[in-house]
Symmetry: C2
Subunit: 271 residues, 2 copies
């Protein structure tokens, strides 16, 4: 039988392994399934204390949070008052990057693809500004408008024309964390037309990264800072949860159509 | 009168400044001229000891050397046995990058625009391989041929299609020092078509830099290492010197036409 893995949670129904008892909650790489037989070599860990809603362990305390935290702090090396731009800012990673950046003391602008998301970023998440890129005809002048003093950090979830416009509007020693290429996943032939003259003379750094690259020290920093923020009510945790195994295909397609606000999660069974 | 500065050397003919005597050699930012009046605020320094040929102080011990050393060691952070590719490898910066990389223990391939330069890189400078990019029709497969195990470091002096092909052939965690854009200086509309999917999934870092960014510690490292190598005869210092103020225009144009092997220097007056 062919199975597909995801980052998920499950409740133990029966166990032959001495470390796991019935009703334990386990967390890690798991099948998309209502029931699954887990072999010992699988990447699962028992959740010993469950302080937060279970969904947080696959979102903000999972790869989405680590990607946002590590990409922003370790790759972009922010300074207070840096001007930060985030694309796909209402997505599972982008919304957290913007919130971390605001808490750190930066000026933060996000872009997203609907008016509802733009309002959400400004009103619920505290972004300084946000705009709907689909309503803009000239991204270069859009960015000039939102960043009259230039961009210091760009957390890039989309690639494409937005990245070209950012490079044109970037300050000297600007840093770009290349996290995702939403504009390229659906059209792999679409490459960006980057001005390397800008890259050299403005000493721009563009750095691709994946969450799995960070060290265990980075991970511990991330968990400690993020849990403190969540406990203090300083970080919002937007989630978009659909129920039932039959919602997996539409949840997946929706990621590329821009349906979700915050982390997209499929809940297969009741807690 | 309009004057144009360069990095150069001059001999003091007359001085009202107590620190400078007739016949002192000064080094730094100076006019392109046979004679010039230097004001105190100009960026000139007396050469106290003259251990090497004077031309070395504007080439290998000047911005060319610092760019090569800093770009390779500080930006690219090499490891022994890394596979290193250098474009414009017979130029003033590229030839030194390749030599530093070989001395450090890397596998080094350079490209250049004439057969004579390619032979020079392999036979005189000890590059492992070199090729004439003008003879290649498919840069992607050319790089596959010279780098069957992929590229770890690219020292980019040209931008353009070569950079696209390098990204396609780069290993995970590859590093690109973006030093120059020879392909773009003469055609500023020509932007590169970069695969950001490669940049993200291979965690490629592209970093623009200028020699002026390095710290004084970096500079001291560079001078000490480089002087030791030159004294020991381990670094070749290719230079292309033309004589007379009337050769300035052709020297400048020649840089973009690929005329020079090594550092292009104009000698205006006899020592």
């Amino acid at each position: 039988m062919h199975t597909i893995n995801c980052l998920g949670l499950g409740r133990v129904v029966a166990s032959n392994h001495p470390d796991y008892q019935k009703n334990d909650i386990v967390h890690g790489t798991i099948n998309w399934a209502e029931y699954t037989i887990v072999k010992t070599q699988d990447m699962l860990k028992k959740l010993d204390t469950i302080e937060f809603p279970l969904s947080y362990y696959v979102g903000i305390f999972g790869f989405s949070g680590l990607t946002a935290y590590g990409g922003f702090f370790k790759i972009c090396k922010p300074k207070k008052e840096d001007k930060v731009f985030v694309s796909a800012a209402a997505g599972s990673v982008g919304n957290l990057v913007g919130q971390y950046a605001k808490l750190f003391g930066c000026y933060v602008v996000g872009c997203a693809g609907t008016k509802q998301k733009v309002n959400f970023l400004k009103e619920k998440l505290g972004f300084d500004e946000a705009f709907n890129y689909k309503e803009e005809t000239d991204l270069n002048s859009t960015l000039q408008r939102y960043f009259p003093d230039g961009i210091d950090i760009y957390f890039d979830n989309v690639g494409g024309e937005m990245l070209e416009a950012v490079v044109a509007n970037m300050n000297a020693f600007g840093r770009i964390a290349a996290c995702g290429v939403l504009s390229g996943y659906t059209n792999s032939k679409k490459h960006i037309a980057l001005s390397m003259v800008d890259v050299v003379y403005k000493r721009i750094m563009i750095h691709g990264f994946l969450a799995t690259d960070f060290t265990s020290n980075d991970f511990n920093d991330f968990m400690s800072v993020t849990k403190d923020y969540v406990r203090a009510g300083k970080l919002s945790v937007p989630e978009d949860i659909s129920f039932g195994i039959e919602t997996i295909p539409s949840a997946f397609v929706g990621l590329f159509r821009g349906d979700n606000v915050g982390k997209k999660i499929v809940q297969i069974a009741k807690e």
